[in-house]
């Protein structure tokens, strides 16, 4: 392990991250916020600590190996989670504990969207914008951004990239060079964000909300600038725009790239994961609409049923976490069904959380294979995705991932139960954080404010685990990782 190389890159990344304090200053200045010192101080603090880390080792050169890559990514997310909390801690506008500040910052960066702040509508605009910005940065991945703009990472960039990007097949590249791939991903991401902001604005949001919500929509985050989330606007057009962009952001970004390059939409439908993704959302919508419609009371019209169902289904199953109504009060199995949908999440290579559609598709096909094998014991069956046979090790890795996911889920839930939370709260809080969803059920249906400090730290860990897809996090906890 070359710690000086790690230290150097970490210092550099911190220096880059300090720049994220500047846009909120601009916004706050334009919107007339009285006090912008938290951001100035935050900028100085993070930048200087970056310099302090970087300078003593700035001449050290060395290649990044696999292990250093993992450690940098994990350290980076942890360090950023904490330094992202700086403006919250420094602000005098409202009272927030250190725990809450870190929870909010990690929830933002991991695009979870679980909040501990009540009174978002009256928050200084700079802080409100900063929360949205955190989600946007976390969405595509800060490491991916760093790989795009810091060419010095070189080949080592690939190690970092792999440790951060979601999905079972991590070394597929859109272009020969990793920096180019990372740049492309960010271009697509930016294009989607700009389109989304324009659409929100045209649908009737003011420009501040439009930009803020486009950040958290395209990042599949779920932070809002209002306590009542999307319900605040009560505008079907805005909800339609949000649905479209949540769906788009949940698709593998390489499909967007192929569509853009080939100027054709055919690539989407040819992708088995995409088809599965649409199918899952379609089935969920049908089930939700019919069940909710069957149980509807007189004051709820069919139109309302369809509107709320569609929005909640897309928002929860892509793991965004916007709400237009209190779906936790929906009848019967619907709240739990939607929570389970968040386990499936979006596609690999998107900004969505969860276990990713492709893994479920693979599990499904493997299940089907066993069924076929029962009927034809000597059949040789390969699992294929997009007509390409999949390497056996990817298939195995999916099983490994699935079982570890379940195991981690159980451990997290048991600890919450031990801390005295009721079953619904414990289950939904872990699902909401591990899947990077946001709101849960029961005690945490709209925010996590009422939880105790230890639970919050515990859930912070769950969010990081979910964002880095467990293994990147777990590998550095094994003794073998530290052995020479």
């Amino acid at each position: 392990m070359k710690f000086s190389v790690i230290q150097r890159i970490l210092g550099l990344l911190l220096m880059v991250f300090s720049l994220t304090m500047l846009p909120p200053i601009g916004i706050g200045w334009m919107m007339g916020d009285p006090d912008l010192t938290p951001f100035w101080e935050g900028f100085a603090l993070i930048f200087i600590s970056g310099v302090v880390m970087w300078f003593p080792v700035h001449r050290v050169r060395g290649d990044l190996r696999l292990r250093e890559g993992f450690l940098i990514v994990v350290l980076f997310w942890v360090v950023l989670g904490i330094s992202g909390a700086v403006p919250f801690v420094l602000t005098d506008n409202f009272d927030i504990s250190f725990t809450d500040a870190v929870f909010e910052s990690i929830s933002g960066l991991t695009t979870t969207g679980a909040t501990v702040i009540v009174g978002l509508d009256t928050l200084p605009r700079s802080l409100a914008f900063y929360r949205q910005e955190l989600q946007w940065l976390g969405g595509m991945g800060i490491i991916v951004l760093a790989v795009a703009i810091l060419p010095i990472l070189g080949v080592g960039g690939m190690q970092l990239y792999r440790a951060e990007t979601p999905g079972p097949m991590k070394d597929s590249k859109l272009t020969p060079r990793i920096t180019e791939t990372a740049k492309l991903l960010w271009y697509i991401y930016m294009a989607l964000t700009i389109l989304c902001a324009l659409a929100f604005w045209l649908a009737g949001m003011n420009w501040f909300d439009a930009i803020g919500h486009s950040f958290s929509t395209v990042a599949i985050g779920g932070f809002s600038t209002h306590d009542s989330s999307m319900a605040f606007f009560n505008n079907p057009m805005i909800e339609a725009v949000a649905i479209v962009f949540m769906l788009l952001a949940g698709v593998n970004f390489s499909l967007h790239f192929i569509a853009w390059r080939g100027r054709s939409l055919r690539g989407y439908w040819q992708d088995s994961e995409f088809r599965m993704y649409i199918l899952v959302i379609f089935i969920l919508s049908v089930v939700t609409i019919s069940y909710l419609g069957g149980q509807r009371t007189a004051e709820l019209s069919w139109v309302e049923v369809v509107r709320h169902s569609l929005f909640q289904v897309v928002s929860i199953s892509t793991t965004t976490g916007f709400t237009t109504t209190h779906y936790s009060n929906w009848p019967g199995f619907l709240p739990v069904l939607l929570l389970f949908a968040s386990f499936v999440g979006g596609c690999a290579g998107s900004t969505a959380g969860g276990m990713k559609v492709i893994r479920f598709l693979l599990l499904l096909r493997q299940g089907m294979r066993e069924v076929t094998r029962l009927m034809h014991p000597s059949a040789r069956i390969t699992i294929k995705i997009n007509r390409q046979p999949l390497p056996e090790n990817v298939v195995e890795a999916v099983w490994g991932f699935f079982s570890v996911y379940i195991a981690v889920f159980v451990v997290f839930m048991l600890v919450l139960l031990a801390l005295g939370h009721d079953q619904v709260t414990a289950f939904s809080a872990v699902a909401a954080t591990l899947n990077n969803l946001g709101p849960g059920l029961g005690e945490v249906a709209s925010n996590f404010k009422s939880m105790d400090d230890f639970s919050k730290w515990w859930l912070c860990l769950a969010m990081l685990m979910g964002r880095l897809e467990l293994f990147t996090m777990l590998v550095i906890l094994t003794p073998a990782f530290w052995r020479r």
Partner: protein
């Protein structure tokens, strides 16, 4: 530049590494997914699994907007077909292919644009044979490279006690040998390049690289070390393609050649093909056979089988039994470093092939590229074009050229004359400059320096 490499063998991988480290967009195609996975771990390249000549595979690898295709799979036929496909379907601008078999190479008409459209043919066996032949014809040299179409040669020599120049300043060499035009281009001391000044003192064990016309090389080598007698008796171990060609070349040049081949059928074939060479059927690592064949009086022992380990071991054996100089073909770079002490010369086919490939890949007017010291440094030959206004080099004295860091001008060749750099001559159009780079990162900077165009600074 976007480059597509077919075949992830040793040459394919090495070229990919060089190109990827110079910020080119490299994609590699191979049928072996495992090799490609390892490659992806190591290099910033894209990979594609599949048969390299199939249009569908090429398309997936993005051949449509590729600037250069390098076909180096282990099959001549696949390489040829891939170039044909690239030409016919995708109009790829530059197509380079490796063709090993002399059966194809004998017919140059095959590779005309209207037949098999290959722009550059690389034949590693041919290159290696020529390389070894040059080494044999210059006793004592570590490396002999042709520049300016062989009018001048770059020679690397290890300075040994007994050389006239050892302990003297470089300046003295010119005094020792009036009339001989040569220029010392680089000196490596303990593996690091020295900054060359006229009063630099040559020490024992320095590796000296100089540029001179072929007829003066022997005299200059004698300055650096006690001169070996011209070689006469040669034993070649391994009768494969390289062994065969080398034997033919050497016997034509009136050397006494023996060639050892293990396979009886192959040995019979060699005996038919070769005129004066004595073909020995047997194992090159057989001590008795070597002794019987007078190994202690052999000048050069050259191991060129396709097995690194066999080459190394038989060379070491030959050295211990008294062969004056042993050379061994070693594919694995790490082996070459390992046996440096025991084997006089390690010959790396990849380095040689890569040099030839790079010549065609480099931009500007780069005529030749050679790797020195196993890739640690590079010698490139560039032609200066344009005039004082359009070029950054023409019309300037050597000392006025703004060179990138860790780059030196080793020699200036005008027509067939090596110019003395001590007089600080002015560079004219069409001069050939031989440059040394000890840091490959600056190659693009050198390329740029020689590009003709309008400059604002």
């Amino acid at each position: 530049m976007k480059v597509l490499i077919l075949g992830a063998g040793q040459v394919g991988c090495s070229v990919a590494e060089v190109l990827a480290n110079e910020d080119n967009d490299v994609t590699i195609v191979d049928t072996d997914a495992t090799v490609l996975r390892e490659l992806r771990e190591k290099l910033d390249v894209r990979t594609e699994v599949g048969q390299a000549s199939y249009p569908r595979v090429l398309e997936r690898a993005g051949i449509e907007d590729v600037d250069m295709l390098i076909a180096v799979t282990n099959s001549d036929e696949v390489n040829m077909v891939a170039c044909q496909v690239a030409f016919t379907l995708y109009r790829t601008p530059t197509k380079i292919a490796r063709i090993r078999s002399s059966h194809y190479l004998q017919h140059p008409r095959l590779f005309l644009q209207e037949a098999l459209p290959i722009d550059v043919l690389i034949s590693p066996e041919q290159l290696v044979t020529d390389h070894v032949f040059r080494l044999v014809s210059h006793p004592g040299a570590l490396q002999v490279l042709n520049f300016a179409e062989g009018k001048v040669q770059l020679v690397g020599v290890k300075a040994l006690s007994g050389g006239a120049l050892i302990g003297h300043k470089l300046l003295d060499m010119y005094e020792h040998m009036p009339g001989i035009k040569a220029s010392v281009a680089a000196i490596f001391r303990k593996g690091r390049p020295l900054k060359i000044k006229p009063d630099t003192v040559v020490e024992v064990d320095d590796e000296v690289f100089f540029v001179a016309s072929p007829k003066h090389i022997r005299a200059i080598i004698s300055e650096m070390r006690r001169l070996d007698k011209p070689y006469k008796r040669i034993i070649i171990a391994g009768g494969g393609n390289i062994g065969n060609r080398l034997a033919r070349l050497l016997e034509d040049a009136r050397y006494q050649v023996k060639i050892i081949e293990n396979n009886p059928k192959r040995a019979a074939k060699l005996a038919e093909r070769l005129e004066k060479t004595i073909v020995l059927e047997g194992d090159a690592s057989d001590e008795a056979l070597l002794i019987e064949e007078n190994i202690e009086n052999t000048d050069v022992y050259i191991a060129v089988t396709n097995d690194d380990e066999a080459n190394i071991l038989s060379s070491m054996l030959a050295k211990r039994l008294g062969a004056r100089r042993v050379m061994s073909l070693i594919n694995r770079m790490s082996y070459a470093d390992l046996v440096e002490r025991n084997i006089d010369l390690a010959i790396s086919p990849q380095q040689i092939t890569i040099g030839a490939l790079l010549t065609h890949i480099r931009r500007g007017d780069i005529v030749a590229v050679h790797s020195l010291r196993r890739g640690a440094a590079e010698a490139i030959e560039v032609v200066a074009h344009g005039d004082k206004k359009t070029s950054r080099v023409v019309g300037r004295r050597i000392s006025e050229v703004k060179l990138p860091p860790s780059t030196i001008i080793g020699a200036l060749v005008r027509e067939d004359q090596v110019m003395m750099l001590d007089d600080d001559p002015q560079i004219e159009a069409n001069d050939h400059l031989i440059m040394f780079l000890t840091d490959k990162r600056y190659i693009p900077a050198v390329e740029k320096l020689f590009q003709v165009g309008v400059h604002f600074f």
